[in-house]
């Protein structure tokens, strides 16, 4: 079973490479922007401290060049938007390719284009629903409670309330995730998005379990490798570690789709 999955993943090396390059490009865009915006510091001792994300260097710089902050915000927003759009596109293609067993980049694009709008709709409605839940929760909470400092004796209920809101939105997220898989599968058979959500409830245990499992693996690997990277005097090793984690997280994602589609 594990071996079969591994083979299947290895067979997808082209898609994995594609996604990897996509993430690399995102990193690079920030890297170049950082280099570019700090270029006025090229002759300063401070420049070599930027990689430490030194708060003093960055604060002094932003205070002296207030426009940089705005630029970062703009680029950040654009990158996030682009990333969501591209990933929505790729996800649609990846799922279809996995199910059909077709592995070409051409198919990835073709299927991506085919299901893009439906997947985007699902992603956007996720955002809308989470906003709605949070907004409603705040409204109800403060209507009942008024001033929490007067209403509660301690801050404990406040903390628990925020944590349960977070948990709730995670649950909704998982639902949407599963639904996007189902949409793909069911659409092929002519079914609707709503139907996909209904089916999703049936698989929710599996989805939650898988996500928790992969998240755990990723966290462990990440912590381990990053730590190793930090300790390593060789910068190239540190760099490789980062890339490895990047690649591995994509690998895990493929495996996730793969298992759910079984």
């Amino acid at each position: 079973m594990i071996r079969a999955n591994t083979y299947k993943i290895i067979n997808h090396w082209r898609q994995i490479l594609f996604l990897y390059l996509l993430q690399l490009l995102t990193s690079l865009s920030f890297f170049y922007m950082t280099i570019e915006s700090f270029s006025s510091l090229q002759n300063s001792k401070a420049f070599s401290s930027i990689h430490m994300l030194d708060r003093t260097v960055i604060s002094d710089f932003v205070k002296a060049n207030p426009s940089v902050l705005g630029l970062y915000q703009e680029v950040f927003l654009i990158v996030v938007l682009l990333y969501i759009i591209v990933h929505t596109f790729i996800n649609a293609g990846v799922l279809k390719s996995l199910q059909n067993g077709e592995y070409s980049i051409r198919d990835l694009f073709r299927h991506g284009a085919m299901y893009f709008w439906k997947f985007l709709l699902i992603n956007l409605s996720y955002g809308a629903i989470v906003l709605l839940i949070t907004g409603l929760s705040f409204l109800v909470f403060f209507t009942i409670v008024g001033d929490p400092i007067i209403y509660f004796d301690t801050e404990k209920p406040l903390v628990h309330w925020v944590l349960s809101l977070l948990f709730l939105s995670m649950l909704v997220l998982v639902l949407f995730w599963g639904a996007s898989l189902n949409v793909k599968i069911r659409i092929l058979k002519g079914n609707k998005v709503v139907h996909a959500f209904r089916l999703m409830f049936r698989k929710i245990g599996k989805v939650v379990g898988l996500i928790a499992f992969y998240a755990m693996i990723l966290i462990v690997i990440k912590q381990g490798l990053y730590h190793l990277g930090d300790l390593c005097s060789n910068l190239y090793v540190a760099f490789l570690c980062t890339q490895l984690v990047l690649g591995f997280s994509i690998l895990l994602r493929f495996d996730f789709y793969n298992r759910l589609l079984k």
Binding site: Q23, L24, T26, S27, L28, F30, F31, T34, I35, L41, Q42, N43, S44, K45, A46, F47, S48, I50, H51, M52, L53, D54, R55, T56, V57, S59, D60, F61, A64, V80, Y83, I84, H87, T88, N91, N123, Y126, I149, I150, F152, D153, T154, E155, K156, V159, L173, I211, L218, Y226, G229, L235, Y236, A238, F239, T242, Q243, V245, L246, S249, I250
Partner: protein
Amino acid sequence: MSLYPIINSFCFCTIILSWSVGLRGQQLCIQNVTNQASVISNYHISVELFPKDKKAYGTQSLSWKNTSPDTIREIPFYMYLNAFKNLQSSYLKGSGGEIFGRTLTNNSKKEWGWIEISKIKTNKGVDLTDELRYIQLNDGNIHDQSVIQLKLKEELLPGDSISLQMEFEAKLPYIISRAGYSKNDYFFFNHWYPQPGVYEKDKNGDWGWNCHQFFRGTEFYADFGDYLVDITIDRRFVVGASGCMLDRIDLPNNKVRYSYQANNVIDFAWIAYPLFEEYTDFYKDIQIKMLIPEEHCMMAPRYLEAVKHAFEYLEEHVGPYPYPSITICDPPMHALRSGLMEYPMLITCGSFYNFPEGIRTIESLVIHEFTHMYFMATIATNEKEEAWMDEGFVTFYEDKIMDHYYGKKSSLIDFYGLKSGNSENTRLEYTTMNNPSEGTIARPGWEIKGDYKGLIYAKTATMLRSLEGYMGKESFEQMIKSYYIAWKFKHPKEADFRSHLQQHIRDHVVDYDINYDRFLDECLHGVGQVDYRIDYVRYLDLEDKKGVYGDDEDKAYQYLATNQKELHIGITNLGTLNLPVELLCTYVEGRDTLLFLDQWQQEYHIQLPAGNIEKIELDPQLKLPLDVNLNNNSFTIDHPTVSENIELFNKTSKLTSTFVDLLSWLF
């Protein structure tokens, strides 16, 4: 996953605390012996709390000694609880009924606070109640009752003492700031009894009363005294107070009387709350008492550790802790407005349920308040007129202690890769002020309208770092240690500190022999900031200068013989505060030249014999953190290496990939 730290820290807290209580619980708080020379007022106060009315009724016998050469005809008393009596008090006036996030316009009668003297007589039985009159010498606001003056029927000659018997009522407000009551019978009593002002020499050397009205942004100033305070209260309360508990007597009706003694202190505060958990620990023989609500229990080990660090550091670098105890109170969420304050031997801090360990504001704040036991309680400067003399010094030592025990670059924040040092944070609080040049540091609290904290806490602490930088660590420490010995249990003013510093510089070796008086003048009374910048670094060809110039033939010849080139460096201060600064030139061959630019100039044009320059750095050891932009302080010929670039890329991609991971799990 997030549950483990909670469980862990909770267990740890219970184990450690029960251990310390079990082991040392029997040990008593050992009272310090008063140096009677410094004690001017002596108090014996008996007070009973009536929780339903939010009131305490007290009797106070006070003896006050006239240590001045003047004959005293009246004594003013602080009546600071009256600041919370109505919106017309000088404290609340101009707040528009909105203060520290609280709306006061809908206050019920119960929510206001006041203090009233119902009777006052001498120990010979002469009734003086009719001789009391509210005065408003600062602002003439007739509605303000924060200072009351007692006209004496008999003159008090130099060296004589007067004993007064007083009856008073202290009604606590629903906490606005510091003193007050809150939910579940939380009571914090400070400035709760009539306390005389200070009769002293002012800046011009004239004797007079220093007894200001109560304004926002000002605190307390009083004489040293010995206090004996009996507190009668319902048995359900957990009580904390300045000083040592001498006795506890059970009374009928489920009441109890605690007797506290605090010697040689400028004030006495106490706190009562039935929901406090109480823990006792020790640093050497000093009792540490911790009062903390159950929901903050997991913070107790952090508090205790931090306070012990502060004890250790300050005893080593400033002087011995002069009192027998310290009580640390962590208020519950609803009483947070009484948090982050300092009174002799009693401090209040602030925490939050399950607050992350990597964010050490809890430690930083408790260390700050504890350091006030040195600068405020012992070296009792006038917080109202010269706030920088306690808050600045306290912040300076808060930075030192935090950085020493928790790491220079991560003492304040070490949270998922985000790091910040405490002293780094302090400097940034000053540099990121809307206007770091705004106003002078040395002026009364009520005159400062802008960023009080940035100016009084951060800029002063950063200035003291420079002072230490130029004097040298050892010399600075010696100076502070002798300052502490010379001025403990006294009220030093700016001039006293400065003459102490001058004396020290005359008698001791300092790293740089600059004009320290001018340095302090610029920093404390000047308006402005520092921002030195390296403008240019140039080699000047000397081909066309060949020949012999002036009388110094050797020098000119040397120039020609070495490189036929000359190095020119331009430095400008973009700010207006011109302070001395170091300049270091490092040559590729390994040698370096350190110059000290102490001409207090705005611009420097420096010529050096040429050589292969590797880098030029202004203030290489960060002795002048007052410089608001450190990035323009250096010039390196070498551009970043490939490996430095890769490291930067590595960091960027780590950050981006973490974020991208998050996104890719979401979508």
